[in-house]
């Protein structure tokens, strides 16, 4: 807390929240200027988890970077790997075979379900607290999330931090009987999502979320929101449908849009996306035909990577929104590592809306609004 903020004669009070606060979803500090219980001004301070990943990428070769990208958004590592590998593929001009495309799409959708399940559990934990009943829903959602992590473990050997994508394809092909287990898991999870919806019968949940944290469509677009936050504000935009990648052009993605723009709308969008993802996984399993999972030219030497000096931007739709990678290739002069690797994290933009949204709310609403934006600090700070 800065000393100049302290003014004993004024009616305003400065309150420091974080960086170690149980509901900031990581390490995040926000300074609130309060008039009684009402927020007048909010100043966020990120950067407590800045790990210098962009600098590290400049020292490593293209193949070595994938496991590092797992650790940005540690709730959805699969989609993170896909984002960086798609940028490499665009820069190096590599083709991905059909089976790998479908497999990547399935993994992305499974990851979306797992990520939203974790979000739902921690969001209700934030609102209800351990004693207020929020912990019950967290137990349920983590039970279902473990089922999906088991699927990933059967495929890659890791619970998370998979390192299963590489430029030009995937490393691990599906084990025998995996599709059957996936279908079974989907059948298990689908009715349980209906059970979660019982939380909307709770008067307290509605009072805490309805009309809280309004983000207007203009503000959402201007601050660069994406993903569920943007769709909850009434903007019909989803990269899976509007700029298809992987095998999304072979299926029809139904985008759920809410117009309210409050925390409840963001909850509804995410729950609807879980249902949609389950439908997509079932449909995509039918498209998984036998074939190779890496490109026709396997990546054997780093020499292949050396001759790429362009600059590309690739953005994909992760559970949190548009995760983009702006890549400056090394070219002949600078060797087989990217010269500059800029990551466009959706959570950073989601957090940057806080100074606009928080003023006027109560202190307890900070936790609700922060949780509804679904920020991952590893991604914000990198």
């Amino acid at each position: 807390m800065d000393i100049e903020d302290y003014d004993p004669d004024a009616d305003l009070m400065a309150l420091n929240m974080g960086p170690q606060h149980p509901s900031t979803h990581g390490v995040f500090r926000i300074k609130l200027i309060l008039d009684g219980e009402r927020i007048v001004k909010a100043v966020p301070y990120p950067g407590y988890l800045h790990r210098g990943v962009e600098k590290l990428c400049e020292k490593l070769t293209y193949v070595q970077i994938t496991p590092i990208f797992d650790k940005h958004d540690y709730v959805a590592p699969m989609t993170n790997e896909q984002a960086i590998n798609m940028a490499f593929e665009k820069l190096l001009g590599l083709e991905v075979p059909q089976r790998a495309k479908v497999l990547r799409t399935i993994l992305a959708e499974l990851q979306r379900i797992a990520s939203h399940l974790l979000w739902l559990g921690t969001f209700t934990l934030d609102i209800g607290g351990t004693i207020g009943g929020g912990a019950s829903l967290m137990m349920y959602t983590f039970r279902e999330r473990e089922l999906i992590l088991d699927l990933f473990e059967a495929l890659t050997g890791c619970r998370f931090h998979y390192n299963t994508h590489c430029p030009g394809g995937n490393r691990h092909d599906v084990p025998e009987g995996w599709e059957t287990v996936v279908r079974h898991v989907m059948d298990t999870i689908e009715p349980r999502i209906d059970e979660y919806e019982a939380i909307c019968d709770s008067e307290i949940f509605l009072m805490r979320t309805e009309g809280v944290g309004l983000i207007s469509p203009d503000l959402a677009l201007e601050t660069g929101q994406s993903g569920p936050v943007l769709r909850a504000s009434g903007i019909d935009h989803d990269l899976r449908r509007d700029a298809p990648y992987h095998a999304y052009d072979q299926v029809q993605v139904r985008v759920h849009v809410e117009t309210a723009g409050d925390c409840l709308a963001r909850y509804k969008v995410r729950v609807a996306e879980m249902r949609e993802s389950i439908r997509l996984v079932r449909e995509l399993l039918g498209l998984l035909e036998p074939g190779p999972i890496v490109g026709s030219k396997p990546i054997k030497s780093l020499v292949q990577f050396k001759a790429s000096g362009g600059q590309v931007y690739v953005g994909i739709e992760t559970p949190r929104g548009e995760l983009g990678t702006y890549l400056v290739g090394g070219g002949d002069q600078r060797g087989a590592a990217p010269y500059r690797c800029k990551i466009r994290p959706p959570s950073l933009h989601a957090m940057s809306v806080l100074p606009y949204v928080l003023p006027g709310h109560q202190v307890s609403d900070v936790v609700t609004i922060l949780g509804s934006l679904d920020p991952i600090m590893g991604e914000v700070d990198r």
Binding site: G47, E54, E222, V312, Y313, E322, K342, R344
Partner: protein, 160 residues
């Protein structure tokens, strides 16, 4: 009519858009470009990427004099997106010898943190930004980590 065709003559862009080389425009037309694109429907601020290129002497070809060295410069690439059906991105670069670029904050509020981050890590000053403070590093940090002359394992006091 695509955005490229609409803006090609006005900003003196090449004939065809290249997938790997965003066009370079003059820094004085940077804000004008963003405003024109915003009118054209590119309302979503995606990212800004500043890159530091230190002074470099290109390799000489056999039997030729070495080419003149490339002076130290910075490249700032900006990406905007048009949301909705058939969404597409538009990227362009400006190249400057002093790390000073006009800000896009009055046009896109989303540029706020992204530009602060680039100032923090690369040291590019976004002229006109109302609140250009460090975002990631502590406020008393010395240097800009993503510059090429900044060693990755620079000593931080109690630890190394």
């Amino acid at each position: 009519m695509s955005a490229w065709e609409a803006l090609r003559e006005r900003f003196d862009l090449p004939e065809e858009p290249s997938a790997e080389e965003p066009p370079v425009i003059d820094v004085s037309r940077h804000v004008e470009m963003a405003a024109a694109l915003k009118e054209f429907g590119f309302t979503m601020y995606v990212t800004v990427c500043a890159t530091h290129f230190p002074e470099e002497a290109p390799k000489a070809k056999k039997g030729e004099d070495p080419p003149p060295p490339i002076p130290e410069h910075w490249e700032v690439a900006t990406v905007l997106r048009r949301p909705g059906a058939r969404s597409e991105t538009f990227a362009w670069r400006v190249s400057v010898e002093r790390p000073v670029v006009p800000t896009l904050f009055p046009l896109f509020a989303g540029a706020d943190w992204q530009e602060r981050e680039q100032y923090d890590l690369v040291g590019v000053i976004f002229e006109g930004h109302p609140d250009l403070r460090r975002l990631m590093m502590p406020e008393d940090w010395d240097g800009h980590p993503l510059r090429k002359d900044y060693a990755i394992d620079t000593r931080v006091h109690p630890w190394r």
